[in-house]
Subunit: 312 residues, 5 copies
């Protein structure tokens, strides 16, 4: 096919305006991710231990994506040199799409953890679901990467289509599994948290839909500087929505469910919980306990249980 | 118009003195933002959970602005080369205004969050107001950016004026909405916190007024090295006032309101609150609670509610 | 032997595709380590003081490995220059295997600490075991390094074999000692934590097996670009499994054992513990104590015991 | 005047030994500031909320000064090239004095906050004093900067003298105001804290005296490489004394006064306080409170007070 | 003397193998310091306020040494260029010994603080001892630095010997003072903590002995590439032992003494203390206090005592 005789998508000679738009889209997404990373880092104790795995997933993926955008920004900056009125790509420009796939191979599995940890699936069922959705998310990215970047440098339309379809299989499984978990969880929580969980799911799954659309651009069109701009801006916007927008909604679900647990008396939380200036639950300290010297001594006396050669 | 045949504003050949003034203005603003970032990071627990979203907004925007100034400083340093007694701009100098807009597109929406979170608007009304003011702030920046940077590289006076006016519409909405929220909130709080909130609002909204003035410079004057210096110093000073000055006042409101809530008995806070060496409230621990085994067991027994395949 | 007349393994002229695969493997492993570092940093208080040395070991080794991968990525990026369709190595490429050994000489001893700290061995026995396994791990790496990197730049098959065998002696000791400690500990803990400890041990020891296989490549085959790619990808994947995968399982053991201790009444922990959304233990605060003025005064009165020239 | 025909003070061709002394002075001061920054960051909770603004000022200014020294070190390193046995300055060397003024314009006002926050001035009087001393400190630096760096590149002796005198006016106000505040505070505190406050004030104000002496060097002497070395080493040493030495003494005052407040029963502090291994006060937890549902409901029912569209 | 006609010690033309050994020794020491820095940062609350100055000293010195090794690694990397089979030094290689002295001038005084803070010397005696040992440590480094680096670039054997002897005087004082403090403290603590304190002292003082040995190398031998390698590896190993090894032992003393204080009833500590899986003390919360309104009002009413223009 003719359109695949052109250079790889990322190596376009860019006019000034489009070059600047991509650079600033990368910077803007990086700034948004930095802000969200700091938010999830500093607000993580507003959520009880039950839902905190969701916050951990959010902050880890925010950090990875933030570093990825720092690399993308720096590779875009160093990867093109101004000759007259156009920016000509060099060796460093070759990573400006590939780095995204590596980022996603870590962050998309973590997004499924972030969502599932505020659902009500528990125990072995939760572990299985987490394992299979993380696996599907990882394979979805890796197979998409093989089609678009590795095989013939993304210039072979057949590879793009075949690997795109394989990737889609994992994509479909992910949708079905996540929607199932969310649906089963909605009746177990309060109205406001259920509404936020529904919104979070919609935001995540609809922003996921942007990626295959951008992926398919080189199948249907010659990649021109304008198309590359569209790809970079589209990916950046989708990353912000799927990570920052989704993350803020998920955090809200976790906070509201913490308050529900405290009110229901099944959890303690040392701080009151407020949401949009409305009081949701009081702070509740755990009870004061007493370490049992007898049990402790038994632990230290039992050398064949592996403990206890140095009792106090 | 003649004055738009000159190069884009950021590509001036700068004499030594003016070049140094801009470089040091960028550095000074970056230092002030670094100090403020660390202050909001380390002091965030002086404020109760109710008003903490204000602190989170403040620290996230401080971090973004601080990184933006680090980039501006480094681009200004690398973007000019000394030839004899003048600094001649190169390719890296092209970002020294555009990076500001990207910074603002993230930080100005967060400034509205910072202010609203110490007001008394609550619940759905608060969420709507937050959403619309963040949107208006974002669009105010993006449209200003289109006029001044993207279209004809900011050299088309008509574009500057038209997009400037569109930007102004969002600007006006923002003023009206924020002033309304502050006015409604002032009677709900103590005298000292109300005074600080009033000051914070005045500082924010008046420093916002500097931006359109600087924006309008290229409409009324040829951008000379002196004007570029005025623009860069003006933006830097306005950023410090609107972020650091405003943030310190907002933090004070949040702290004083926390003390008022503790004194009124509607909130607990583990630390005493002092302001300017005056004692405002005692520390108050939350009550000790008890997790209810019956309710907990019910949660774990209810598999169709999504939980409970592994009861303890 | 002929195959050792070729250049050192790390100085291959790499075709585009293989070069990219290595670069992205390094980046992906670095991202995974960054995420895991942040996870162990922020989740460290979910574990009681008893098992926290395991978390400390995990987060310290994650940081070291993360920095090592940042160096590997940057050396790989700067260490090759694109000439036509191939990447030609330069001076900076010389560290892209050696840096790994330095990383391992710090991180592998810490991995044994991470495992032993969730076992039940205690007191002097624990200190001895920790000391000998850390020593064996360190010597295993150093002797492997001598054989593969220092002596004749890894091109002397005899050295590779001899030092490989010496390294194997430490390797065998490590296996025997760690398996012994784990076996003695399994009966002392609950079913779920024992299962996770078993899994963690299997993950660690089986991923350790990858390293000698990769080490042996230059003994049995000419190091071609494809083999170098296999080595770099193999090491990166093994590092992720042995550090991140193992670390998450170890953290789970530590969390579940904390809950067991709280339930048994031999420890306090200020937070409830939940695992996969299942409640494992309530939060328990320590008792309120009283400082004894008489004892304290005695301390301050006893100048020849070194204290007390300034009693209050 | 003849001596002002020589190049600006910072552009000296430096012999090897003097060049090295400056480089290592910059590095040593940077190391001391890094250590002090980490100390104030990690020890900040040893001080009660009353005096914590002092710690915040100290850690923010330490961070700014630390970054300033990192820039000075890097500009000094890149700003000179070895030609034979001498280091010849280039463009990057131009910032190696100016960066100091920008640092001081942020850090000197914060030093006054650090001192005043452990004094006993309170309320409106404290706010006024803080405002005027911060302003005087800022203007003292800015006017000194105008004289020594901006006007005629610091080669005009008249400007040096005139602006130096203006700067001195602010300097004198600062001394008078700070000494007044300290004097008024000494009788309100214990003997040991008063002694430390006196020492801290002496350290701060006497190290401040070094700056005008160094400033005056170019008025009285040709700036030779030896004089530049004296200036850089003098400024570095004064910065370490005025920031690190002063900060450690201030921290001690804040800690001792916290203990005094706890012993007097006017404050709670969750940790015992020890100073130089001597017990100063017990830890005291705040009382357990109870959120009043009636008051809370009133807040949420009062829509015209701005709160309460979503009562729980 | 002939051997001093050769170039300064740090400017050797290095063969491949020795160059790599130094580079990896610098990297390995840097990694160990990074791990130890994170350990002391995250474990600092395992120690009570009484002994925490020891932890603060340890983490501050670890950070300084870590940054120093990052500079050494980067200067070593950039300071030599590969010409054929040898690495030829350039301008950047000149710091690769000097940076060590600057590091030590900050870190060695902090090492004495780290040790003294777990001894039992208290009050004025402790302050004097800390002051004189910090001073002696600082002067020991500075005089050694003068002899080996500044005067004649370390090529004058007489200067080496004379300044080495002066440095030794401070060295001897340090030994005597520290051993005295440790000896006086051993009887005041439990058996296990005393054993660890003894070990820590031996580790510190014996590793200190390595430095004069390395320092003396250029007096007795021509500095060849092999000797430079021995110097760099010797210093790196001594730094790891004296900082990391010593620090871990000191931390153990601090932890065990905290447990002793809690058991004796003279201190509270919110967490149980375990060491090598053996339970040493329960967690003990401080008592709940009550702020006295009368005393507080008196403070606020006393304007001439400096407080109270704004009573609540």
């Amino acid at each position: 096919m003719d359109r695949f005789d052109t250079p790889t998508p990322e190596l376009q000679t860019m006019p000034l305006g489009l070059y600047d738009v991509v650079q600033l889209a990368l910077l803007g997404a990086g700034f948004a991710l930095l802000a969200y990373f700091l938010y999830s880092l500093t607000s993580r104790n507003e959520v009880s231990a039950r839902y905190r795995p969701s916050v951990f997933a959010g902050l880890c993926l925010a950090a990875v994506a933030m570093v990825a955008y720092a690399l993308l920004y720096s590779d875009w900056d160093a990867g093109f040199t101004l000759h007259g009125d156009v920016y000509v790509p060099n060796e460093e420009a070759r990573n400006t799409l590939g780095t995204r796939y590596i980022d996603w191979s870590v962050t998309v599995p973590l997004l499924t953890v972030e969502l599932l940890a505020v659902c009500s699936v528990a125990g072995a069922k939760a572990r299985n679901l987490r394992f299979t959705t993380m696996g599907a998310a990882f394979l979805m990215i890796v197979t998409g990467y093989l089609g678009s970047q590795v095989l013939s440098d993304g210039r072979d339309a057949t590879a793009l289509v075949v690997w795109g379809l394989i990737s889609t299989v994992f994509f479909v499984y992910l949708y079905v599994a996540l929607i199932g978990a969310v649906r089963a969880s909605l009746p177990t929580m309060g109205e406001e948290s259920a509404a936020s969980l529904r919104n979070a799911t919609i935001v995540l799954l609809s922003s996921f839909g942007v990626y295959p659309l951008v992926y398919a651009i080189p199948v249907f069109a010659d990649v021109t500087p304008a198309w590359l701009t569209a790809m970079q801006v589209g990916y950046s916007a989708a990353d912000v929505v799927a990570k920052v927008g989704f993350g803020i909604l998920t955090h809200k679900v976790a906070k509201l469910r913490t308050a529900e647990d405290v009110v229901a008396g099944i959890d303690t939380h040392p701080e009151p919980i407020w949401s949009s200036n409305v009081h949701k639950s009081d702070g509740v300290l755990p009870e004061v306990g007493r370490v049992s010297p007898a049990v402790l001594a038994a632990v230290h006396r039992a050398p064949d249980r592996g403990a206890g050669t140095d009792p106090v």
